[in-house]
Symmetry: C2
Subunit: 343 residues, 2 copies
Amino acid sequence: MTTPPRVTIKDVAARAGVSKGAVSLAFNHKPGLSDATRDRIFEAARELGWAPNLAARSLSSRRVDVVGLAICRPAKLLGLEPFYMEFISGVESVLTEHSCSLLLRLVRTVEEEVGLQDSWWRGKQISGSILVDFRADDPRVAAVDRLGMPVVAVGHPSLTGGLTSVWTDDATAVTEAVRYLAALGHRRVARVGGAAALGHTAIRTAAFDEAARVLELAGAWQVATDFSGDAGARATRSLLTAAPADRPTAIVYDNDIMAVAGLSVASEMGLSVPGDVSLLAWDDSQLCRLTHPTLSAMSHDVHGFGADVARTLFGVITGDGAGSHPVPTPVLTPRGSTAPPRG
Amino acid sequence: MTTPPRVTIKDVAARAGVSKGAVSLAFNHKPGLSDATRDRIFEAARELGWAPNLAARSLSSRRVDVVGLAICRPAKLLGLEPFYMEFISGVESVLTEHSCSLLLRLVRTVEEEVGLQDSWWRGKQISGSILVDFRADDPRVAAVDRLGMPVVAVGHPSLTGGLTSVWTDDATAVTEAVRYLAALGHRRVARVGGAAALGHTAIRTAAFDEAARVLELAGAWQVATDFSGDAGARATRSLLTAAPADRPTAIVYDNDIMAVAGLSVASEMGLSVPGDVSLLAWDDSQLCRLTHPTLSAMSHDVHGFGADVARTLFGVITGDGAGSHPVPTPVLTPRGSTAPPRG
DNA sequence: GCAGTTGCCTATACCGGTTTAGGAGTGCGC
DNA sequence: GCGCACTCCTAAACCGGTATAGGCAACTGC
């Protein structure tokens, strides 16, 4: 175990024959140095293998290049949910451009998240945060207001208080989904929704009811789940056990996993998809093209969503005109799992 | 936009009527303070809403409570791969106990990762790192040696140089998988492997060949992919288009996604699973229980794996006896997708 | 030829904690 | 009454950067 060299800015300055300040200027690409000196400094730093100590830098410059993201869902579900990794990769793609890092934490409850964001912010560990999975009367709104921390809330403005928000128009998307199924001729439609506590679930639920009313569907069921495949399977099984004349002929799911599970339940029950029942997934990850039949889905660009959120966060942090805005509404991508009902 | 209060240790000290040092002692739970003073300090901090500035802390105490993790796979694949999120959640579960955070970054190449780890470490941003997805002659081994950075390498010791490693015994697992299929009566077996560049893929490939040799199988095919569902589907299609007497009667996949894709290809080709062909997945995420038939799989505790890795990293960082060790070998979990071959 | 500007660089005071050496008060033994 | 140990606390020197005021030439304009 050799003792590490501990090379600091002073060593670099000495080696290059300049002052600490000069090295600082060079490494922050600020004007006031001749090209020759600049080169000499970089050369010295390279030889010594020096990189600025970020703790020291953020202490004196009072800025950090880190943003936070806390996700509050059971670990088991997260692994399966393609949404998050794709979202994160979108966020990352923008952070990287700004040489900014992502501090990630999985939490169990919103309260825990509030505590975490609080200590991240007060500990000056992050320069801002991305808030996801809003619920009604979300405690994070007040907490963030109190802290004055820059954030972007991923969720409909009706849920996110006055926070800068980026959201998908779930109501319109649900309406489009139901309209499409109705246009195919379906009169009995069900929806297997996500966690009831989440705000966007409530929005989708209301939109579904409204669409069913407007379209005068003969039957419209909704059931809440925890987003897991198991729950999706259970819900599907329960929906499809009704007598053929009473059961739904089409089911909309709130994510891809549950739709995959639903597909397998239908097959297990000897029902053909889309012959006996049409299935419509949500998010449209690659998974939807891996099943047989392939899954029709409400499709959106999750990677781009994440990137947009990150860009907006930078806007909030720097203070220039970052406004709340929706991202493009998910569009229907018909594949093999939807068709007109039999008969 | 109200100007933030900027409360520091000095304010807390003043309010509690003590020195900065006393506040520091209190917040680090060190001895040398009366209970009364301690209480007064915490009370003052609470009233002012103060939390120590972590940059300042790590600058003077030269320790940070952050560990790094860079993942080098195309974003599109990551989203679908249940492995990582589960792994991360396992890592997190241990980090949280130590109030340590995870710095996550998705990178495109190993070279990029080397640069990243380098700047993380030299910038004193992390106290150690988790290295995954080793390949033959991995440049990270030398880089980490040079830096003297504490790491845990997730990969077989044959790949990770002298680095402290935690690994799954892929060779044994592959052998068990092949043995099981052979025991069922399969004589023509294929394997749809992962990225050829990855070390563990090579290990599995070699083990598969060896097992096929020992068991004197009549046919043993292997094909490398990029882990994506599409690639898995293509590989499966190509394997199954041979004449019935020549094609494999069982296929082992290197992850769950490709197995799901394979299942759908079989169904699309009118082949029954497991009647015409047996399918065996790898990792055993929840996905394996969502298909019809359910997927037999080589199953392991990915969450526990991540937790083990994190614990080992703490051992390396603190210097106490953290040794390389394997985690439990994946075990075969038979479900509905494997059976004796027809006839 | 002299003030004014400009370009390049240094000295030094921070940032907000931790960590030392040491001081003030108390209790104890003798 | 004095030395000694012990408890509780303070003052001040760090940590490794950034920011800022200012110094010194050389060049400009007139």
